[in-house]
């Protein structure tokens, strides 16, 4: 089978590579690009741990071939921090609100929340919960993840953080 030549932009950097068509985007990122932030949780499209941002979509990179990403701009957790190296609002939110325990789901959660906040700058708790419905967390029970996203939204919008009603 012939390999395919792909050009992608990953975290702002242009990358060219030869991939087998059957190479999944998650394997391309983790094994060829050494970007191990996106995780493989289930390998079946259910858990969202492999979520990355691709051309303004949140996608499950375990269900996408790298060749499908040809020409796309991809953001992974490695590209989320501010340019000066400080934590982004979402990263800070997850830290401040204890939005993670084991951290396995966190890269996917943050990338999904990133796109959610791009599309809806001030989501309600309900919108956040529906927005992260494709991301499973086995540790937190989601309460602090919701708070972390609210914290980030407030920080980005310059409004005071309001805790979710429980």
């Amino acid at each position: 089978m012939t390999k395919s030549h792909i050009k992608v932009t990953i975290n702002g950097k242009a990358v060219e590579a030869l991939v087998e068509p059957r190479t999944l985007l998650i394997h391309f990122l983790r094994e060829q690009q050494n970007l191990t932030g996106a995780h493989i949780g289930c390998d079946t499209g259910h858990c969202g741990a492999c979520t990355v941002d691709m051309d303004e979509m949140s996608v499950k990179s375990c269900m996408t071939f790298a060749v499908q990403a040809n020409g796309a701009a991809i953001t992974t957790i490695e590209g989320v921090a501010n340019a000066d190296g400080t934590l982004s609002a979402l990263q800070e939110g997850f830290r401040m609100m204890h939005g993670l325990q084991c951290g396995y789901c966190t890269p996917g959660m943050i990338l999904r929340a990133h796109r959610l906040l791009q599309e809806n700058a001030d989501p309600t708790e309900d919108e956040i919960r529906h927005g992260i419905a494709g991301n499973l967390c086995r540790c937190t029970g989601y309460v602090n993840i919701v708070k972390a996203i609210q914290y980030a939204a407030a920080k980005i919008n310059g409004t005071p953080y309001q805790e979710a009603a429980e």
Binding site: T51, T64, A133, G134
Partner: protein, 288 residues
Amino acid sequence: MIPGTFDYHRPTTVESAVALLLQLGEDARPLAGGHSLIPLMKTRLSAPEHLVDLAAIEGLRRLEHVGDHVVIGAMTTQHAVINSTLLTDLVPILRETALVIADPQIRYKGTIGGNCANGDPGNDMPALMQCLGASYQLTGTGGHREVSARDFYLGAYETALAPGEILTEIRIPVPPAGHGYGYEKLKRKVGDYATAAAAVVITMAAGTCTSASIGLTNVSETPLWAAEAGRILVGSTLDAATVNAAVAAAEAITNPASDMRGPAEYRTKMAGIMLRRALERARVRATV
């Protein structure tokens, strides 16, 4: 899980895509969003030797109001359906249905054409298309033909698509202004296929039902258009006795499998319950 090897093709026109599919024959599969096909390939339940990716064909993303129809290109994603003000204004049940398909990530990639053409009885759009009286434009090397969604599904994963043909456009007659609608889906969790689901579109005039169309999801090998149930409702005030009769008629045409979503009897009853709920919502939403 790693899929078997295959060659990847990315045509930029419908003509080249169908020519490729015809030439490569049974060893080739078209690729839309991939969220049905790629899981099958990863478990090697499907091992096509060629994938013909339709993503680069601009012409398949059309979204237009043409006369008394809306035309939706097959590669329009569920996410685009949800965010289309055109569709939400004219055929709001599309958005309501798309929102209960899979999860946000999958809706960015999953396409309306893939959902309709795959022939999986678990897909939600097919029964809705039957309810709306939609038709599919199928394109092969010889040109286009039009097949009603009500005639398209022949069995599980068996459709009217001929070898080398792809579904390119969906045409939906715009329901009358003020129509009532509802899509109700029972599922075990986010991302699941329906245990049973029902799509309802009705019109009312002075408290009387003047038209009714009902589609049922995942309670047979194919989506079901419950024509008799719809007929029973027309001319009534949607009183309890009439609704009961319509629900019984709808349940009578179901033939679900007993599986991890429940025994067949249960799923038939749930189809009836979903129909009741969708109908009630449609009644409340219908103006006049």
